[in-house]
């Protein structure tokens, strides 16, 4: 029996010497960045979208995951691209952006793109109170249902391939992951591009501002969209996101190829 859900498969479109490594967010699947990947492949880039460990199968699997497994998943993608490409762009949605940034301190890319990426866990009073007992609690209550969806494009909600619950034990893994990201921020010197929605009700756009300020890069830019919720790669303004990301990659890529 197939283990990976239909629509949650990783993808790899070989193209030119410039490779784009795409990372999806927590409890999501490669579907979250698939359209962005297709858009970049149409521009001639080599594109690879990894499946993070324990994603796209069953949400129960996630409680066995550690944040380092997700970093290893992204590292796998880099190695698969490495033999085919000369330059790399690490691109991530939400926590996938955090992983892209951490990976950038280990394998320096030509540029890094963080979309709707958090700098820390959003404050949740329920979570604060439960945190000391979350590990044992997760054996009794493996997952909690997600809140009502806030999509601006109802079709994007229909197409969404993601878990409908938050695995409790796995939420704890986000803390060391985001701490690793915060310590990676000043070390990253490569060009960086950030996007976020003003109407992100899950991760407020102040997170983008704070990431921007702490980034070690001198070439860094950020852009806001409005008519989208958290998942800006799929929601109503996805085309604007695709164009902005492509514009950033093209600018850096051209400066490198013409500079050599």
């Amino acid at each position: 029996m197939r283990q990976i859900q239909s629509g949650a498969e990783p993808f790899f479109y070989p193209g030119g010497e410039t490779g784009c490594l795409l990372a999806h967010g927590f409890t999501a699947s490669p579907q979250e960045v698939h359209r962005l990947g297709e858009h970049l492949a149409q521009q001639g880039y080599t594109v690879l979208g990894v499946r993070m460990f324990a994603h796209g199968t069953k949400h129960e699997d996630m409680n066995r995951a550690r944040w380092t497994d997700w970093l290893t998943s992204v590292e796998d993608g880099y190695h698969l691209l490495a033999n085919h490409c000369k330059r790399f762009f690490f691109i991530g949605s939400s926590v996938g952006g955090s992983l892209s940034l951490i990976l950038a301190t280990r394998f320096p890319p030509a540029g890094v793109v963080m979309l709707a990426t958090p700098i820390r866990l959003p404050p949740d009073p329920r979570l604060e109170r439960l945190k000391p007992i979350l590990k044992p609690l997760s054996y009794l209550l493996p997952a909690i249902p997600k809140g009502p969806p806030t999509w601006h494009d109802p079709q994007a909600q229909v197409e969404r391939v993601a878990y409908t619950a938050y695995p409790l034990r796995a939420i704890l893994e986000l803390e060391p992951l985001l701490a690793a990201m915060r310590s990676a921020l000043p070390k990253v010197r490569v060009p960086a591009f950030l996007m976020h929605s003003k109407n992100d009700r899950f991760i407020p756009s102040e997170h983008m501002q704070q990431i921007y300020e702490r980034l070690g890069s001198s070439d860094k830019h950020m852009t806001l969209v409005e008519d989208s919720s958290h998942v800006i790669t799929c929601d109503a303004e996805r085309e604007v996101v695709f164009q902005n990301v492509t514009g950033f990659i093209q600018r850096i890529d051209t400066s490198i190829t013409e500079g050599v």
């Binding site: 283990q3 790899f12 070989p14 699997d61 066995r64 590292e75 796998d76 190695h79 698969l80 280990r106």
Partner: protein, 256 residues
Amino acid sequence: MTQIMKGGQPFFLPAGSTGCLLLHGFTGTPNEMHWMGEYLSGRGYTVLAPRIFAHGTQLSDMFRARWKDWVASAEDGYHLLKGSCEKIVIAGLSMGGTLSLILSSYLPVSGVIAMAAPYEMHDPTVRRLRPILPLLSLFYRSRAKESSGILDPMAKQVHVDYDGYPVRGGYELQELLEEMRSNLPQLNKPVLLINSKLDEAVTPEHARAIFESLPSSDKQILMLEEGGHNIPRDLARQTAFQAAGDFIQRVTSEAG
């Protein structure tokens, strides 16, 4: 610092529109499939070797791994390779051979090559302990590996793997083999089994048991005279590579 140990990285060797997915064995890494990958790439086949979950990082990661994670990693490799290939053959060593047979029972592949693939857990003690292994593994995490089982001294030197066996893995491996045995009757694709006469773990009887379970009429066993369990690393590897290359050529050039 990186997550994956040096030499244990997955690899992709782009070439033609026929692809070969290479799956490594239990506690091994993509490294053991590298020579085979280079050989097949030289014959014009695109090659992708994924890293199976919890392999090539640290042994303690294996304590959390379940057999379904390994199947999912192999499926990842198939989907990634599909992006550049029209036809795909899956080849695997040992547990990678088991995974190859499982995937081929439900994915549209042109053929499958299983090297030193077990039919059941070869160690009778581990077989008997199966029901208590999950509990036992909480206290007794792993046991040391005596040797890599590789007879070629040069290949032994470049081998990259864990130096121990995770006890929980012994349970998961048996679950995986049970899944394989229940999938074999549905595997109606060309199959090449490659085994070594001198393999002390996966003896020629395993190949015969798998062979008997296959409904396909297009099935064959190649029995190697030299080398041990780790076929793509060991002494008879060139014979194995050539047989694998010829098999891929035949099953992907036929109509359909």
